[in-house]
Amino acid sequence: MKLDELKKIIKEELKSILEANAPEKKPGTKEAPPKEKPGTTPKRRGFDKPEPGVNPKPKASLKETEKNLVDKITARFLKSKK
């Protein structure tokens, strides 16, 4: 078998496989635009875009309240000494 014939057979075989697996399309329907940007592979898992109204307030770390705590304790201590 010549190389060209072999290529032809492979091409035809691939074409038939692709057609067999292609999603059914109704006439006049448009394909939905891809969710992912071109060149990226869609991932099976991940985090969904936040639902409407989901905008949590920043969470603070209260670590530095300690300075205020020291001031407060010191003031209380000094007051009790008077």
Binding site: G46, F47, G53, V54, P58, K59, A60, E64, L69
Partner: protein, 341 residues
């Protein structure tokens, strides 16, 4: 669950669960603070912070970079989910992250929704406490900058987070919050960039270990967004009712043990892919409110039902399988197979 006026843990969980959480908090207090009194803790903490700031001052950019690298390595879900991190070490006055939207006052909400949000907030805080200690894994890098830093970081974190296991400290913190006298040592926020279709973590803190803590908190805030429903007004109302500064001390106190329980469940699965953990958390967060509270309560008490355990293990295995397909590029082959059936 009793009728909730304020979403307090005592009203969400059964007395047995609260006893377990309080017991763990007592043990944690001993581990974190040893025999130090509250006054000694606060005084030592006040000495350490300026020392750390002084030691870090010539390495700010490097430390910001290490913080981002470290969290990205420790939490591979960040790369997988294409999350962007904007993290900066700043002075105390520059910590506040500008709010993107005005918050509205909330109407009354179904109590289980608020209970769910409160527990998720606790897990977020808990995860960020546990995650902050990840710097020990990067000791070699940090020692190159200053070999006294790692010990100081360890000490300040133990002191800072240890006080949340002290009832005396919590009472004082709550009093200060009520008087609006708190000054945060760090802040984090998650945002969704519509244009880039990407989550962004914004973190600001006065020093490196607090920055790491804030980045992890931002990551878990993203995970937490997966626990909401589709009703915009309800979502806003739940956030308005539950995401309060005055709730944070108890979230810090109990949240770390709720996080530990979930993390241990991930550990039990023997799955060696850390991305599964955060993705599994999202599946738990997506449970129906009542089911969620029940699952967490049973988990804390080590009393998951056979069905709950099977569901959890099954979810984790399914996530692991999906991640493997993504990693190996076998997703396409899988699609062909599915269509042929």
């Amino acid at each position: 669950m009793g009728k909730l006026l304020e979403i307090e843990y005592e009203k969400i969980f059964k007395p047995e669960t609260m006893a377990s959480l309080k017991g763990k908090s007592g043990e944690s207090l001993k581990q974190m603070l040893g025999n130090k009194s509250l006054m000694q803790t606060i005084m030592r903490s006040s000495e350490l912070i300026p020392e750390i700031i002084e030691a870090e001052k010539n390495h700010i950019t490097t430390l910001e970079g290490i913080a981002v690298d470290m969290v990205t390595q420790a939490y591979p879900i960040i790369d997988y989910a294409n999350i962007r991190i904007d993290a900066k070490i700043v002075t105390m006055g520059d910590i506040a992250i500008p709010k993107t939207e005005e918050e509205e006052e909330s109407p009354t909400n179904p109590e289980f929704l608020e209970a769910k949000r409160r527990i998720i907030n606790g897990i977020t805080q808990g995860a960020s406490i546990r995650g902050a200690f990840a710097f020990y894994l990067f000791k070699e890098y940090l020692d190159l900058l200053d070999d006294t830093l790692v010990d100081k970081y360890g000490e300040i974190l133990k002191l800072s987070f240890g006080i949340y296991d002290s009832e005396e400290a919590i009472a004082m913190l709550l009093a200060m919050i009520a008087q609006n006298k708190n000054m945060p040592g760090g802040e984090s926020q998650m945002e969704y960039d519509e244009e880039a279709q990407q989550f962004v973590i914004k973190a600001r803190a006065i020093c490196f270990p607090m920055l790491v803590h804030e980045i992890v908190k931002g990551l878990y805030e993203i995970v937490g967004t997966q626990g909401f429903g589709k009703d915009k007004e309800q979502n806003k109302a739940v956030i308005g009712a539950v995401d309060k500064l005055s709730n944070e001390p108890r979230d810090f106190q109990y949240g770390k043990f709720i996080y530990d329980s979930l993390n241990n469940l991930y550990g039990e699965s023997n799955i060696n892919d850390a991305r599964v953990r955060e993705l599994f958390f999202t599946e738990v967060y997506k449970l129906d409110e009542e089911e969620f509270v029940n699952f967490i309560e049973n988990l804390i008490n080590n009393k998951l039902t056979t069905i709950q355990k099977q569901w959890a293990m099954g979810e984790m295995k399914a996530i692991e399988k999906d991640l493997k397909k993504d990693d190996t590029g076998l997703a396409g082959l899988d699609e062909v197979k599915r269509r042929k059936k």
